[in-house]
């Protein structure tokens, strides 16, 4: 059976949910092999869980040089693997890094690349959502290896046992790939909430939240639902909430099962980042707000009374 490579997206060795989604997708195209690239010793706990989602092989490349430079070393390693294994496709997470690694691999291997897909068929045809989510395009790579980056939450991860046979890679990073060095990684305050890209439920606040303090009720609602917290650009630019939580054109693109927008008018730039959410609930005091055009359920009202009441109601019903 044809081999399909999947680049593992992980935080310090723990695979992110999107990795399992990619492995699930890869099984429709062929036999999945996970490619784990990281700092020395990080792969240890990942192997077993990669096997749980069907990885027959796990290629492991560990080196400080992978972690210390931006994307180019990973691309070199994957391009070499493609040369050796001739996979039928390579799937990447559609994160900033995943897309950049894929881009470099495409140049190195002379392949076509379809970035930011929301679906992938067994025959390798990818669906992309373009023009702010207004149009869906189905295309196929016609040159070289089929390279596709896929958005998180595009497919539910399904367990299926795989052998997860480990094959260590020799990592030799060329000087050319060491051009852009990561000199510092700053982690900004973040609670124990799920990652925005991976979360099944996202609760977002916008201009209507009023100030940084106002986000407390957004967070409380998020916590009762086990959700991630998002924010519109208006809210992050005003400094009410950290930039990494911005949902929209210039922030993160999310497509959770449930998206709750509170005090967000729904400008096109925001919609582009959340339009593919499965179910959308909007709370806004302006009945004309464009967010209501998208909403499966819209409540015209003051978020400062509705959101805490909703939090209370959910807590009560869960009890």
């Amino acid at each position: 059976m044809a081999e399909v490579l999947v680049l593992v997206d992980h935080i310090d060795g723990t695979p992110k949910k999107v990795t399992y989604e990619l492995l699930t997708k890869a099984r429709e195209l062929g036999e999945p092999s996970a490619v784990f690239l990281g700092a020395p010793g990080q792969s240890g706990t990942a192997i077993e869980s990669l096997g749980k989602y069907g990885a027959e092989k796990v290629y492991v490349g560990e080196s400080d040089e992978i972690a210390g430079f931006l994307t180019a070393p990973k691309a070199e390693i994957i391009a070499t693997l493609i040369e050796q294994k001739s996979p039928v496709a390579v799937l990447f997470p559609s994160s900033a890094e995943g897309k950049e690694v894929a881009a470099r691999v495409a140049v190195r291997t002379g392949s076509g690349l379809l970035a930011d897909a929301v679906d992938l068929d067994a025959d390798g045809t990818a669906t992309q959502s373009v023009f702010g989510g207004a149009v869906e395009v189905r295309s196929k790579v016609t040159v070289g290896t089929n390279l596709v980056t896929i958005r998180p939450n595009s497919t539910p991860p399904v367990e299926q046992a795989g052998a997860a046979a480990v094959e260590q890679l020799t990592v030799e990073v060329s000087d050319a790939a060491k051009g852009a060095k990561i000199v510092e990684s700053v982690v900004e305050a973040k609670g124990g909430r799920p990652d925005l890209g991976d979360a099944a439920i996202v609760v977002s606040g916008g201009r209507g939240v009023g100030d940084a303090d106002g986000f407390r009720i957004i967070e409380e609602l998020a916590d009762t639902l086990g959700a991630a917290v998002g924010a519109s650009r208006a809210a992050t630019d005003a400094g009410w909430y950290p930039h990494q939580n911005q949902v929209g054109q210039t922030g993160r693109t999310v497509s959770p099962q449930l998206y709750i927008a509170a005090g967000i008018s729904g400008a096109i730039q925001h919609r582009a980042g959340m339009q593919t959410s499965k179910t959308i609930v909007a709370i806004n005091k302006d009945p004309e707000a464009p967010i209501f055009e998208l909403a499966d359920f819209g409540l015209v009202g003051d978020l400062f009374t509705v959101v805490p009441a909703l939090t209370g109601e959910i807590t009560k019903r869960k009890a």
Binding site: L70, T71, A72, A75, S95, A96, K99, E100, A103, R104, V107, G112, L113, L114, A115, D116, V130, F131, G133, A134, V135, E136, V137, R138, S139, K140, V141, T142, G179, A180, V183, E184, S185, V186, E188, K190, Q244, Q249, T250, T253, L258, A272, T279, I283, F292, A295, D296, F297, L299, V300, G301, T305, V306, V307, P308, A309, L310, E313, I314, R317
Partner: protein, 183 residues
């Protein structure tokens, strides 16, 4: 806005080029120029691929510093802050290099009347594919690395239910969430 000169690559042969071919064409044009720093936007608003900077970097062997929300240049060193999912990374490289920037980088100033008049005198070079040394059979729809099979307008979302808060808004939303099995 302050540009000293402009180069415009325009040729019918480029019609229908994919991202791979666009990056090839831009790399060839860059090859006709002298530069210390190439600055790209982070992504287009149509397909939002956000891969042009890494594609060009790989083709030209330039260090790539992408997704910058802040840039400083000190002599031959360029340093950026790149937004990550948990905070930000500080990334450094020597010039020549290519960077891509997000909209947080600055607020564009309004062009002044004086600037607009001065701009009319700045040189604008137009290049064809042949001028830039681009091989015509490596660009354009017929040679694209991916092919569109079909496209469709996303069906508009079914009009949802919109209700007004009459003091029971919280419980109405909760009812909806329960009906969809979220709680």
């Amino acid at each position: 806005m302050g540009a000293d000169k402009a180069v415009h690559l325009s040729d019918e042969a480029l019609h229908g080029s994919c991202a791979m071919q666009t990056s090839y064409a831009l790399s060839k044009v860059l090859g006709t120029l002298e530069y210390d720093l190439v600055i790209c936007g982070s992504e287009s608003t149509d397909a939002r691929l956000s891969i042009m900077a890494p594609l060009i970097a790989e083709r030209l062997g330039l260090p790539q510093l992408s997704g910058a929300r802040k840039v400083t240049v000190d002599g031959g060193t360029v340093r950026i802050e790149r937004q990550t999912e948990s905070g930000y990374d500080v990334i450094e490289a020597s010039t020549p290099a290519i960077i891509s920037v997000v909209e947080k980088i600055n607020e564009p100033r309004y062009p002044s009347f004086k600037g607009i008049m001065a701009a009319k005198k700045k040189p604008l070079t137009s290049l064809t594919v042949a001028d830039a040394g681009i091989e015509a059979d490596k660009v354009g729809l017929a040679h694209a690395t991916s092919a569109v099979d079909s496209f469709s307008t996303r069906p508009p979302r079914q009009a949802g239910q919109i209700v007004k808060d009459e003091g029971d808004g919280g419980s109405k939303v909760a009812d909806f969430l329960a009906s969809q099995k979220f709680i």
